[in-house]
Symmetry: C2
DNA sequence: CTGAAAGCGCTAACAT
DNA sequence: ATGTTAGCGCTTTCAG
């Protein structure tokens, strides 16, 4: 464990110069920089991040807070964020709030505030005003992914537009009885994602002059089994059944496909299904979907943070960034049956 | 941002006493402890983890290294580890090695060694000797989950026994033509998990006096589509087809079920399927499986670490800990067709 | 462009 | 049981 002093001695300079040479802050001549780098390498020197943080006030560490880990979307965003942070020389410390209220309070009080992190990325989480303002009071940048947080720079998909696009795809194919499987009320707490998606669906229908039939809406829990059950309900009545389903997530959409099969209906012959996400399994099931790109969302979040954290990265944009999405047509959608 | 000094002043004691009272190390009278706690609370004081780490040499932070994030097993272990660490007042910093060689080197050289972590948990990863010894040289405890690392305390399932159990379940039901979908060679690098599982399958067969037919083995990639394809191959030949399949993971087993359906075979009427994992989707598909408990594995790992890190937790056990597993019988297995 | 020196905020001997 | 004091290893003014 060589220290900065040894490096300084070996390079024949002061510790201050070593610090400047290695961190890139302040003027150092090219020649000394090389000497220092060589000495550091020879000694396997790595700065002690604690000493560095204590002296500089920067930790080069960002906290990432998620409500679940065990879910495609969250782990993908984390993956993107982690690799982007690594490239910038930052660490990622993970806080999972699955535990509930107690864990949540403890995370905010004792961990995030402990000067452990330079900034926080909140994924798919609605923070309370108190949480937001305590972070801001400490000067910690906060950035949201997957939903707008009031007063906070957020990366968010236009959820209304996304389901609208999915629904319009179906309408363009000739469907008029289009059902929607959305999220239940319990998922509406964070960002009203289910409401937004439902709104997009209804907007598309209205614009096309098609009726919005409340019987064609079913809430579910974003899981495959949830989509399966909802679909069975939707298709159960022999009369007037929908010819297409827009599901608010791919997992639910896959549940729809399986339910249709179990009822002896063919997809897309008897029923068209479109999802939202472009989940890993979507292509296996031939699912038409509107892709969101969670890995890139994580990377975006980090880029935005770097603008806030490192002046060299240029001016931060203060406006919320709309995230890209894209309709991917596979084999689960076609014209409605005659 | 109140500092320790203000707390000391307010409580009418020295900073050393505040430190002792708050950290629990060293003697403090009950009365002063209360005074200090009250003062700290009143000032919203939280220790600066950097200063604390610098002075004490302990970071209360553990590094968790994984090869993937986007996978049920890994995110579950992390979830278990995270909540256990939180309870102990530790942070978890996450290192994802998906990026490949470059990222891996950078993680070990610049992050883990930067005195950022007190210990490392490696999940499903085979570390090189150099990696292991550099950690040990720094006095960082290392503990493996999901596979044995030579010279390192590891939590590992008995993979041979697990597939043996799955296979014996099928044999007990009367099956004799039992196929196995294992992992391909490319997955054998880390811990030879595929080989072990295959061995358990073959052992069970031999013990029962059933023939081991190489034609009944198929490698796949642990994914649902991989299991699907492998199963189609296995069931393709009209003669002498297996009546049961042991898949080395639930995702592959679910692929098997879907493949069987697509071929017009009923599960379990024509084909019994058993998986390994007890994945979230297993119960939806009625999949009989051998459960492993990744969340608990993460918790176990943390407990083991605490024994190494905090003397108060008692003696560390130096032997590798065998992880529990359990056969869960659902509706994908039954007696073979007549 | 480089060096000297004063901390960053806390912990751990060592005294008492 | 509590206070005193000397660092932990680096960064950053401030001089030069």
């Amino acid at each position: 464990m060589a220290g900065i002093e040894e490096v300084a001695r070996r390079a024949g300079v002061s510790t201050a110069t070593v610090s400047r040479a290695l961190s890139g802050r302040g003027y150092v001549s090219e020649a000394t920089r090389e000497k220092v780098t060589a000495a550091a390498a020879a000694l396997d020197y790595v700065v002690s991040s604690n000493a560095s943080s204590l002296a500089s006030g920067r930790t080069r560490n960002v906290g990432v807070v998620v409500p679940f880990l065990n879910h495609w979307f969250f782990s993908s965003v984390i993956e993107g964020a982690e690799s982007a942070l690594l490239r910038q020389g930052y660490d990622l410390t993970l806080y999972n709030l699955t535990g509930g209220g107690e864990a949540r309070k403890s995370v905010f009080d004792h961990f995030l505030l402990r000067q452990r992190v330079d900034a926080v990325i909140a994924i798919g989480l609605e923070l309370t005003e108190a949480e937001v303002s305590s972070l801001h009071a400490m000067g910690k940048p906060l950035i949201g992914v997957g939903g707008p947080i009031p007063g906070v720079l957020s990366l968010t998909m236009d959820d209304v537009a996304v389901t609208r696009l999915a629904t319009e795809h179906l309408i363009a194919l000739g469907h008029t009885r289009i059902a929607h499987i959305g999220g239940g009320k319990e998922f509406d707490l964070d960002f009203h994602l289910p409401s937004h998606r439902r709104t997009g669906y209804e907007d598309a229908l209205r614009d096309a002059g098609a009726p919005v039939d409340p019987a064609l809406y079913r809430p579910a829990d974003f899981t495959l089994p949830g989509g399966y059950d909802a679909t069975k309900q939707l298709l159960g009545s022999p009369h007037n059944r929908p010819t297409a389903i827009v599901a608010a997530s791919d997992e639910m959409a896959i549940g729809s496909i399986l339910a249709a099969r179990d009822l002896g209906l063919s997809v897309p012959g008897d029923l068209s299904v479109v999802g939202i996400d472009d989940h890993q399994l979507a292509s296996f099931f031939g699912l038409t979907t509107v892709a969101q790109f969670p890995i890139r969302q994580g990377e975006h979040a980090v880029e935005a943070l770097m603008h806030l954290l490192e002046p060299a990265h240029g001016e931060p944009s203060s406006a919320d960034v709309p995230l890209p999405y894209e309709l991917i047509v596979r084999s689960s959608t076609s014209r409605p049956p005659e």
